[in-house]
């Protein structure tokens, strides 16, 4: 089976066999693989589009984050579509798994171009999707945003970032790696530094140079300590308010290394003293509720390093579902 987005986007490598009954309780019963659709037209109004971005050879440190899209899909079986906290059922959203961006083994530039093309293709095909990019490492964010920009050149894009790092390293050193996405976007003129908001940095994980570059470019950031003091939800809301006065579209990027390493054994770059799971979920829910947040990604989660019961993979999926809960609450509110 191939998808109508092929060859820009490969269909997912496997699909869950649906139960006869058609009753939807679990996430794997809800999200349709693109290969299951016979009619491309019918798919245009899909509300949520998932795009796997299995690239991590662009990571500074050796990474298996490329395995997350597959692990993510496998994990669906363990999650209900119903969210008890907020009494919403995600299965009321239409959601499509568009598959994975094709990757090349030794040509990283080509991989990056493929991501741009795929992200653009999604914008082109779907009328008003909320796009969820499943990384991969953080280098993909710059490409996802560029692809989005390509199709919507007149819309200003802002970024809300959960991260332990600035990701503003100089691309001259090592090209568009997972340490550079934000700088990449600034330097390419796609996003202005002042339209970037980073929450969660702390400790000894950014050199002084980067901080100075951030200040120069007007990048906004709230350390975890500052965000905790103000309240995570309140901090997110403040960022979104400021952003939404300046941009048309907000892109949410969740670098899982923002988490405390005790909560994220499958994220080698996570650190002691990072966010708790509760805090991250609180932040992501708040972001999902904002009407301008039209895309998000989850990056730097390496399932090969996760411990036996896969706490980090589960958390990655929980982040995704929590974001969509925000989307549903926003839609309900607007109805």
């Amino acid at each position: 089976m191939k998808s109508f987005l092929y060859p820009k986007i490969n269909p997912p490598s496997f699909t869950w066999v649906r139960p006869e009954s058609g009753k939807v309780d679990k996430v794997h019963e809800w999200i349709q693989p693109i290969t299951a659709l016979t009619d491309p037209e019918r798919s245009k109004d899909t509300e949520v589009v998932i795009l796997g971005v299995p690239l991590s050879r662009s990571s500074i440190s050796a990474s298996g984050a490329s395995e997350f899209p597959e692990a993510f899909r496998r994990s669906w079986k363990s999650f209900a579509t119903y969210n008890l906290d907020d009494d919403v059922d995600l299965s009321e959203l239409t959601a499509l798994d568009a598959g994975d961006v094709p990757m090349h083994v030794t040509n990283i530039q080509k991989c990056h171009q493929n991501i741009i093309d795929a992200a653009a293709a999604v914008q082109q095909h779907f009328s008003n999707p909320t796009v969820c990019g499943i990384g991969g490492d953080h280098s993909i964010t710059a490409m996802m945003v560029k692809g989005m920009h390509l199709e919507n050149p007149d819309e200003k894009i802002g970024i809300l970032q959960f991260d332990t790092h600035f990701d503003l390293r100089d691309m001259l050193d090592n090209g568009p790696s997972n340490g550079t996405p934000m700088r990449n976007l600034i330097e390419s003129g796609v996003v202005e530094g002042s339209n970037m908001y980073n929450i969660g940095m702390h400790g000894f994980y950014n050199t002084k140079d980067l901080k100075q570059y951030a200040d120069e470019k007007g990048v906004n950031y709230f350390t975890l300590r500052a965000a905790r003091k103000k309240g995570i939800e309140e901090t997110v809301q403040k960022c979104l308010e400021e952003l939404s006065s300046k941009v048309d579209i907000i892109y949410l990027t969740v670098d899982m290394d923002v988490l405390d390493i005790a909560y994220a054994p499958g994220v080698p770059a996570s650190t002691p003293g990072g966010m708790t799971t509760e805090e991250l979920l609180e932040g992501v829910l708040a972001a999902g509720r904002h009407p301008k947040v039209k895309a998000m990604d989850i990056v730097c989660l390496d399932p090969q390093k996760d411990t036996k019961v896969q706490p980090t993979v589960k958390l990655g999926t929980h982040v995704f579902l929590t974001f969509l809960t925000g989307v549903m609450l926003r839609q309900s509110a607007s109805n």
Copy 2:
């Protein structure tokens, strides 16, 4: 050596060799195995009775929770009887390890009947015990309560539950598994839905059907978010107050999957965004202090999945000791 409760209850498979001195500092020096007692009569007034319930083949997912009773006993060596927080010494309570319920390899119905029989036998032999059931998976709770009910048919039983799930699945689907104990008790008429209080649910771990069934039956529940807002201790107290106006005996069941998976790598069903250890201990202590709480169990902890230094096994034992601290504080208060 056999126990006077044999064959309903097997003696523990091993016993700690006591030091000559007789001085009690550690838990393994305090809790007496039932085989060491020559006089059944003398044991009648035992305040705390431990019952191992090594059954987990009734779990929906493959589980080694049947290994917890043995791991629990081995861990005693690492715990003092003295609780510094509350300045009480648990060794002032009399405590007896009654051993394990006999299990059958391929007849789960027989296993369940054996648990009922053993729970009843404990009620029969001891005059006023606080019973601690060490699971095993959650299916055992229905049987423990039924056994208790068998011996005390006139006493109304209520349940306080820490759990990420309702455990109200339909028994027609797969019999009395670890997903059904609460429904089992409702349908058998042993406990009314309105006398069940569940604390700790959150996220995407219960289907909508179950929520609707819960509402129908009047099952009470506080999501983790709600409980945190009110305070864990305050939530527990409120539940106990309500319960104690309606029932004679309160049974506390601690499904360890209520915990955040970062705190419980040995509980595969635990989830991201669950309770912290601190919160669970706070809740269990409050429960132990209530005079109507006459039995408890700890379930769904799989030592085979725990990490090297056994954080989850230790936490299971800590939960048990914290509950008994509540019991002692209650007794001191009532003296």
Copy 3:
């Protein structure tokens, strides 16, 4: 999608998405899931039929062997259909994944009956299949053979077993567990003790009682030491020769615990001093070549206990492919 063998056999829970090209290089591109077939009739001549048997709650020790059928299917991606050693391409065989036997959570007797029914259904539907049962624990073997017998009551069945144990425990003790399949078959009259040949036992893993029962019933066995002295291949050939003079059909059962524990970290019952991988593969290849070997199973492999790079899961799949290599070599020889 459902299968024409449903409800006796559930379709596999997921399917690999096929490449457009239709070119077959890897195992997951070769073996067709039953759900992909629109025409049941066309499937009748399938040469190889895979049947998942995800049952391990019947294990004496807590086991996750029920997870092997899914892990087995996932592993296909890492294996070519071409066997360089023997210069054969397995893709010349037609192979069908019939899916999994439906299981019940708390009624093990029902699970066992379902296996019998499914095994019979396979015999009924396919004209002359080589059946590969993917366990699950060893209790399934008795059921697989019974199902086969049900459809072919006039054909005498013999068994070739690789195992560290007799599996002749008394069913009165704990029912039809993973310790009893051979006794089960003897006592039910389906297979005579003298038509059972066991290779690989050693050391301290069988009680004397069992040896005496084996001798009484005429069960044949070669300790690993004896088999090594004679040669593994030669031992297998000798067993098959003897068997084939006495029976119509030979069933091969591979209890992965026959392996040395260094080679099988995912088989908790494997032991120090067991078979090497090389020896087992040599034995299985020889078995596959024999024309009367019409069915086989692989049991007691617990993927949850396997180490990070999954050596045991890979070995399980390798055993399966090696057996089929034998089948192909036999067919080529007979052409």
Copy 4:
């Protein structure tokens, strides 16, 4: 290469090769190994002196804490010298890695004497150092303090301790093990019980005897529950205030077992219900800011038990850097 402190202190076993540029961004580019210095005189004013103390055969339980000094040095590469939270760059401090105290395999008394000698040698050589002892198990604290006392006999020493235990066990039982350092110091008259402040104890990890001994000797302690109620920072400040009115020098000892075991899988003696990482860092920062805190150690962290991504080793290093951040903030404040 040997160091001018040799043979009292061995040089570190390996050194990072410095980049040509001389630019300092990361911790391994900042801290100079003592072997890199050709002029001992020039080193006298070093502000921070690191002393590895690789001894853990004195632990009650088998421990690999002796491996922490090497793991600690290896981890430097992952940490920037710049602290974003407080906008300070640690590289403005001069810091020297003095190497490791020489240890003997079978003579623990000699190991302890070597620590005393090395600690004294540091005091002797450097004019006003902040000393960071990298353990090793907790038995080293008594020796570090004794060595300091030897060179400064007229200065009264007080201790601030983060710990889950009193460490007041009777030395008559098993000599100066990791269970005795505080008693050792009391009994040897080097530190008075009333000048000891312990923060973080809780639960069932100290016998009643020890509590009584602590009370007798006037040892001050705040349980974790009490410290949380008051605020960790406030508790530390209160302890330091009291201490600083009574003593000349304050020695900070961080037993990593004060942490919740979920945060510290590489500390086997850590417990459920202990401190979070955030709390410990808050406490250590406050301690570092106090002008009388002139020495600290980090003990009981066993890298051999840590999980794959080394959360505990990273946390140990983070604690060290956070302490130095306190030192820098204090110096800035005093300028």
Copy 5:
């Protein structure tokens, strides 16, 4: 309960509860703990005496080998007393678990003296025991032999050693560590170098100095390569023949690091290219059959480093049972 060998030997820390039936199938039902015996006199004729020697703080590298005696006893449950390979039932031997040598935390010299005393006490009490020392690290071997010598000063002792190392390091460097036992025995005059036979060395794991010392003292050794060429069994027999012409008693010491590291993940000093399990068992069986082999030990097995399914602990126990099989075969042969 205390033992009549107390205080020289502590009773085992725990005991298995015996089944009512008295029927012996498994090892834990066979070996009696010394505490269960009411009559010291009756015990004098015990054929096999087990002595736990939980010391590993004398190891050069951090080791948890002190935990093996407890892990060894726990593993008994998984082993039958019946050996199918040789058709013997070990339960025909009388076997007693004498418990553990008392250890001191910080005085290693005292630990070593305690081992000497305990080994002597065993010789004193029992009339003609086969002694099995369960280590602990290799330093204990020198002490075990010295204790034996103390009670039998007129009997010449020889040593058969399976090891990857000479264990002839200079005691002046670091005292009687696990690198020195053979040198210790030579220098103390208890065993002559020419009465030592070492099998299994290979590769890059001994410095040239040690080889020269060995040659000087006439220590005999067969590299693994040489032993394989000749045959392991034949090599052992040749060693025993030579030895038995020169000494009265042969002591077998099995350093588990002789194994290939793939077979012994719980022995950190094991190496690539070492013995297979099969080879070691073959060698140990041959040793057990020799009438002059009156004592043995198993050392350097660290259960804390073993992988999940405990292959190394199981192998340690298998070595012990295989040795006793040799003893039984010898006795049968001599009857």
Copy 6:
């Protein structure tokens, strides 16, 4: 410190601090880092040159093989220079650690060019070195050979390969990945197919296409089964004999995935049924003894996936030392 080969080759990132005595017993005391040399001229005659090649982002599957050069150097401490099997001391060879090839994060082509340049630089600077390339993944082999060829264009190069795969994949698909090195060399005309000898393939790990390509190009290969039948040493000798009649220089490449996965948990591409450690060491020793073998590499060993006691890293180092043993034996023989 920088090296005279900089910037083509970075110095090693750390160096072991040498003991004062200058006595060489262990490998880390023997191999000099290039930064320790003040006189480039003096280094020209170095017999053994080590070149780290930390590249694995060119791997088809996510790999951390880039971490092996550092892990390799760290492991030196555990190895003596003396080889007991062959009674040779490697420290009689002069050996230099030239450091690591500089790598780029996102430009793999540049990484590959850097390897070519570095390999050429080694040939240029040293007069007659035996070069040991420490990978990295298998893509590096093509570059190492190309670099060598660049400096010695008139010398014909042949290859001896231990591998489970042909590594002859089409470069058009995914560029010069770890699946292509042999094809790369054939297509670039640097090595003829008929001058390639591959030992160790087996099972289902090569597609039929690749076998056909190999046959077309005259690539020679011995399956593991064939090599075992003939003898590993004899097979290697036969290959070398044939090769040496055709080429001037032989390059040995050891893809660690040739090993059975039980021996190599840190090589995810290793397979069930592969070589044992003993067999590989036997083969490598034989290769080292041949005078035309002037270079070798070790690839595809991923230390991040290794188990706790690092069996695979140790094995990698053992392979290297065994190769050098061959070199020494050859030199001794030729003197």
